[in-house]
Symmetry: C2
Subunit: 424 residues, 2 copies
């Protein structure tokens, strides 16, 4: 006999986990589609060379990489951004730009498994490729906002910043410093705290005075978009191109009535080098400990590795696992219902009747299953209860069903139509 074990860092998704996930995905997908975003798919396995790109980072060591039967050096994708760059380069003749796509698919990373970190997980990315303007920045932000509102998150803030502004500020410090490195250090602030950030900044060569300046820049209050924008405007001038971009975004958010969901937070930098414009992270007001549920930013050269064409883009990821955790804490019906069907029909030695009845109820829009085992009636009711099924149809007489309502343990006499109304 073989032990039915699974690999460390991998997991089965039971129906009680997979149903909420699929519910959430289908709601988010509907939002994407309502904005004209289209789905794509790419292979799970690619040439290692293609996935590595410039490479050299942490992800390389974490790749599931091997030689296939034909001796090719291949690997499982570790994100959906590199495959997107490869995809857009390979299919640029066929796609129409600006290209708005979403991609919800598995990625694999051989990280050390720990709480909440898996070696296989679902990534959910959406991007606009081929446009660099405030409207595309705003549309991605509005998508984040609409997704969270649609799934019923009661209160959240999308914390936006502009890498251009932060970099300008850093260059104004007149020291010869590596701006990318400083951005990476700032990014660590919520994890390591202010003292450690001070230490790291000094270590990378900043004078004590400049360390203070950096810390005061990233501490500009972020209560509301408007006031932070005002402060930054007075620092950089309202003609500054990054200030202009943020102002345009503010105007669109206000026009669409969603400005209250956004703040400017100068401490947001996103560690990754490839971001060049606005960047953001999203926190739930009631559950800050869950961390950012939606992060992203603008990058100005997605396809440079694979093509001569330079294509700007802006995109975001939704952290599905974190959102599910949040929805569980918020007891959202998206994740709490374990109901497999609305109605169960039990056969009582008459499967033909049971199947016919189930068919009738399905045609009325009720999710209906038949009990297919051979247990006692009591066990059948217990089966219904443990699967969250509220009604069990037991028999039929004169066009009415004898129905057990699981919650009340009562027997009811209902026509198909009455039962359907009771379910809804």
């Amino acid at each position: 006999m073989i032990e039915p074990k699974i690999l460390k860092g991998f997991r089965d998704s039971l129906p009680s986990q997979e149903m909420p996930r699929q519910n959430l995905i289908s709601q988010i997908q509907e939002v994407f589609r309502s904005f004209g975003f289209v789905p794509i798919d790419t292979p799970a396995l690619e040439y290692t060379e293609v996935l590595l790109g410039k490479g050299g980072g942490e992800t390389d060591k974490q790749m599931f990489r091997f030689n296939d039967n034909g001796g090719r050096d291949v690997a499982l994708r570790f994100d959906l951004t590199v495959p997107l760059a490869r995809f857009v380069s390979a299919n640029s003749e066929t796609l129409s730009f600006p290209f708005k796509r979403y991609h919800i698919a598995k990625v694999w990373r051989g990280e050390k498994p720990q709480k909440g970190r898996y070696r296989e997980f679902l990534q959910c990315d959406f991007d606009i490729i081929g446009a660099d303007n405030a409207q595309s920045d705003f549309e991605i932000l509005l998508l984040v906002d609409t997704c969270l509102r649609t799934i019923g998150i009661p209160s959240f803030k999308i914390r936006v910043s502009h890498r251009g502004l932060t970099s300008s500020y850093l260059s104004s410090l007149t020291e010869n410093v590596n701006a990318d490195e400083i951005l990476r250090i700032i990014d660590k602030l919520p994890k390591v705290g202010e003292e450690k950030v001070r230490e790291l900044l000094s270590e990378c060569g900043l004078s004590a005075d400049n360390v203070d300046k950096v810390l005061s820049y990233i501490s500009i209050p972020s209560e509301n978009f408007e006031s932070t924008l005002k402060e930054l405007s007075s620092m950089f001038g309202s003609d500054n191109e990054y200030i202009k971009r943020l102002t345009e975004i503010r105007d669109m958010a206000a026009g669409c009535g969603v400005l209250e969901d956004f703040v400017i937070d100068t401490s947001i930098t996103r560690g990754l080098d490839y971001y060049t414009g606005i960047v953001w992270e999203t926190f739930l007001s009631d559950l800050p400990a869950i961390g950012s549920v939606c992060s992203g930013g603008r990058y100005n050269n997605l396809t440079g590795l694979y093509s001569n064409k330079t294509l700007p883009g802006v995109g975001s990821s939704i952290g599905l696992d974190r959102l599910i955790a949040a929805l569980e804490e918020l007891k959202s019906p998206i994740v709490t219902s374990n109901r497999t069907s609305d109605v169960m029909v039990i056969a009582e030695d008459n499967p033909v009747w049971a199947e016919k009845t189930a068919m009738t109820l399905r045609k009325l829009g009720l999710k209906t299953e038949c009990y297919l085992g051979n247990k006692s009636k009591g066990a059948q009711f217990a089966f219904a209860e443990s699967n969250g099924i509220p009604f069990v149809v037991c028999s039929e007489e004169n066009g009415a069903y004898s129905v057990k309502e699981i919650a009340t343990r009562q027997m009811l006499n209902l026509t198909a139509k009455q039962l359907s109304e009771k379910v809804k």
Copy 2:
């Protein structure tokens, strides 16, 4: 620069391919859910030992198998049946039986790539585990039937047979023959033709007389379920347990008004050894060349390899790629529409207005996108046309939009509500 190439036998799915696929999947999923079937997921990567099982077959050589960074012998799953067996064994304490699950996910096989065969493809499986009775056989068949009817396949036949009957018949030939081998030879009939089947049957030791008998058995006419069942009843007796099973299935199909979609076809055997009860394949009447779009059968020991518990099951696969090919030939709207949105709004230097307008239209249920590039108005209309978008909102005055109807090239004056009605 790195060439953006993909591996042989793998493919990108462009929006024009992925949208139809997702549409089809969501319709099929809705059918599954309406029957109380629930989704599960399992890891793409498993221990090779777990996937190999008894192994030794063709699939073993086709596995993408390697040692991971921890030195574990792992492989990508090549089907969803072996992972289901492992899943049910590992989670048997948590699941309630009869367990009805579906699983739509990628599998990988290093087969020689050829027309219509890929090394990565979507599998769509649905099974009932833990019941061996006519009603569960029928429910899987009814699911096949309902899926095909729901997606609008105009005419098809589900060709059912019973491995038990065929095996009984073969044992009655009183020669010492390997029934499984003969079943595998019969399975090849549509591919290799009758002459070749005769030859292969002789080669495996059947007398000329018995070769004739086998061929006449598998040639029993299959015009309609009723008449074939009658003929088989007279051969095996109506008390035969397999005849009884087929009779019960007939009764349920007749009761649900779907009997006309089924025939008994004694030449259907399904090559695989693990089938023990009814087996079936499904052919589209208008497109027989596409081959079987839905196959499956009953097996009596899914979990034997991983557990002491014997669990019977019945299940089926839907060939999504074949169905998509069929829907394309049938010009079904599920696959032919390339529409990314119902409406496109162009900004004309006023992105705030454009985003607000798009939001208003989305709230009326219209899929609405904004044009985000910086091309001329003519190019924007061309963009809408190439993305199948029927209406372009250009401006607004006194509560009415100036709307270009792409098909007629006319400018219309419409309120949001009128536009919404026009789209629907």
